[in-house]
Amino acid sequence: MLEVRGLVVRYGDTGEKAGAPAVAGIDLRVGDGEVVCVLGPSGSGKSTLLRAIAGLEPAAAGTVAWDGVDLHDTPPHRRRFGLMFQDHALFPHRDVAGNVAFGLRMQGVPADAARARTADLLALVGLPGTEDRPVRALSGGEQQRVALARALAPDPRLLMLDEPLGALDRALREHLVDELRAIFGRRDRAVLLVTHDHEEAFALADRVVVVRAGRVEQDAGAATVWQHPATPFVAEFLGYNVTRVFGPLLAVRPEGLTLGPAAAGSVPVTVVDRTFRRDHFRVRVATTTGEVLDVAVRDTAIPEPGTPAHLVLDPAAAVTLPAPA
């Protein structure tokens, strides 16, 4: 089991943020067989967190331990962790097999066994028989799969994935999500992934850890985070409206709001604009105090911008948030 305690990592010495903490005291646990996703906006220190756990980035404070053993003095190549890089980082001067088998060679696996395992892994990621292809001849999605096979080959006790579906197009992502889930499930090893895309996070992870500026905002089961965001930041990041128009500080999904005639507890608003979303319209409304809220409208009657309306809350869909300190 991976245990991260009070981890602080400062940015490298380049860039404008030099010296500022990228990871500002993070606690994290990933059990065997568990898939944990660190979710946060770009620049919230996610990649740095992975690099620090890998041992590629020195920690300014805190510990990274595996099964109770502090890894401070274990160099990256002895941690038996795997890391799939955001942009693959395939070795351009080796072919597909040379990439996938690299970790096996480092372990001293005999050539025959390595060849067999490479073939198995390539079949697993859906690229059977591609051993001899140069990696530069692969498409983005194929490179992603080779990178995954390469990271899986040495059977790491912890597999880390940095934005695993980052650069792929929508159809491919949806396909790969299912495959990844299947592979994670079959391996029964710890998996830690980071992403800025909440659909990806909830599709893949058992547990979601939302981070903001290098700190944990919420750490809970995927369903819990989705249904009960703990802070206004998490709620907004997941697409909730965060508002006080109904009294207490509430997080409410656009689906939890309806537009209708005046009723008890309804709030008068004006329609600002509307955009089409796959299966509904997203209508943006403004209250008399100027607050702007999103409402999901599935009716055939979509109100025109400028129309006055009344905003009705479905209490079951609202989450009461703690008032910010």
Binding site: A54, L56, G82, L83, F85, D87, A89, P92, M106, R136
Partner: protein
Amino acid sequence: MTRPPRARAATYGTRGSRVAAGIAIAIPCAFIAVFFAYPVASILGRGLAPNGALDLDPLRRVFTDPTQRGVVWFTVWQAALSTLLTLVLALPGAYVLARLRFPGRSLVRALVTIPFVMPTVLVASAFLALGVPRSLGAILLAHVFFNYAVVVRVVGELWRHLDPQEEDAARMLGASRLRVFREITLPALRPGIVAAATITFLFCFTSFGVILFLGGPTRSTIETEIYRQTTRFLDLPLAAALSIVQLAAVIALLWLVGRFQRGASVPRRLRAAREVEHRPRSIADRVLLVTNLTVMATLLALPLGELVVRSLTPPSGPGFGYYRALGTVRAGSTLFVAPLDAVGNSLRFAVVATVIAVTVGGLAAWAGVRTRSRWLEGALALPLGISAVTLGFGFLIALDEPPLDLRGSQWLVPLAQALVAMPFVVLLTAPVLRAIDPRMRDAATMLGASPARVRRAVDLPIAARALFVAAAFAFAISLGEFGATTFVARPDTPTIPIVVYRLLGQPGDVSFGAAMAASCILMLLVALAVLAGDRVRAGRLGEF
């Protein structure tokens, strides 16, 4: 993975612009034909058919005569040893300057490249000033001195942009630091290392001044042997045969390396340098930093510093005594004029050579890019592979009789220098011209600019900077040119390098000191030229 778009020839060119392009191609072609191909053909004629009929005897002598065989063998192994030594010393330096951040790094980077443009004569003086005896060791040291920058530049430029994630990925797959270097870093650097080693080997293989000054009377390479056979024994067929052997060796090596590089080079994603570099955090990095800065200071800075000190400390007491001695013709001197006159000669020749080199080289680069053909560029880079001595020798035997009798003409020196400098002009300008985004031209056209206007508004400002840098470089090279100049300069109009050579050949403290002083003047002039070029370059062109 995606290649940069190739410069497209203007599809909207008019007939006028095609005529202009034709002229632009014709001028460098004619220049190369008359001043390069013709002399080389003359050498071939002299070496292969000294009496009009095919006669392989001179060539046979190169390989059967024990002295000549020794010369060829020495040429090869000293070049190989020099290359190896340069790589061993400069590769860690390349890492330090490419990957580590430390205060004053850009200054060190700039300083390290200075030796490369220093004239051989000057460097030889510097090592002599340091008290290094004429020996094999002196030759090797001087070769490392010259080529350190080649490795640091060529390999360092690659190293600066290698994706460090590849190394991280290998680490995560269980490779130790050493293993990562061997399995990932080294293969990635290989094209750069091979290129740097090839350039270094060629420079050392065709080394002339260094051997002549620092080798002592017994050590001779093919280059110095050509000179010796020509000037001392007047055995022109043998000299020509030596030239042919050298030419063949150079061409064969370039061909081999070209083949190897085509197979070995893998297109890879490059990173911005600032994502790659880091502060020296580990102990290994700190040790590397300190040792390499020490090596650079001792090897590169110390000789030049000592040269200045020696030139300013005559026995009569610190001051400009040696410099004053440059103003007079001493009795018994092999110089017919006051050494100081050479400064004027050098400047005059260098200006003319620069104008020729930039005009011809610039036109060739433009034509080469415009016609999208590399052969013109390749043809113009040829003199680079063929040594200055061969060029000088070729001038000597080709241009001293009808149809082209330039014997004794003041034009010979600048023409020879221009030929030596021109490949650099092409190499410096063509990539810049090629890198002009064709969409910039398209955009200007769509905004209503005529083809001529496009050239003026888009190409010219960019080309002008590159041409200025090239001019500064050509000027520096012409100032220090020794190998070709020594064949064609008239005794009454010597250049500074020739004066230094003569002075070093004369006995006595005053001559030696005067040589140091003349070298310092040369160093100052070259440094000024390089600095002028660098100021422009620092603005936009290139990172290193």
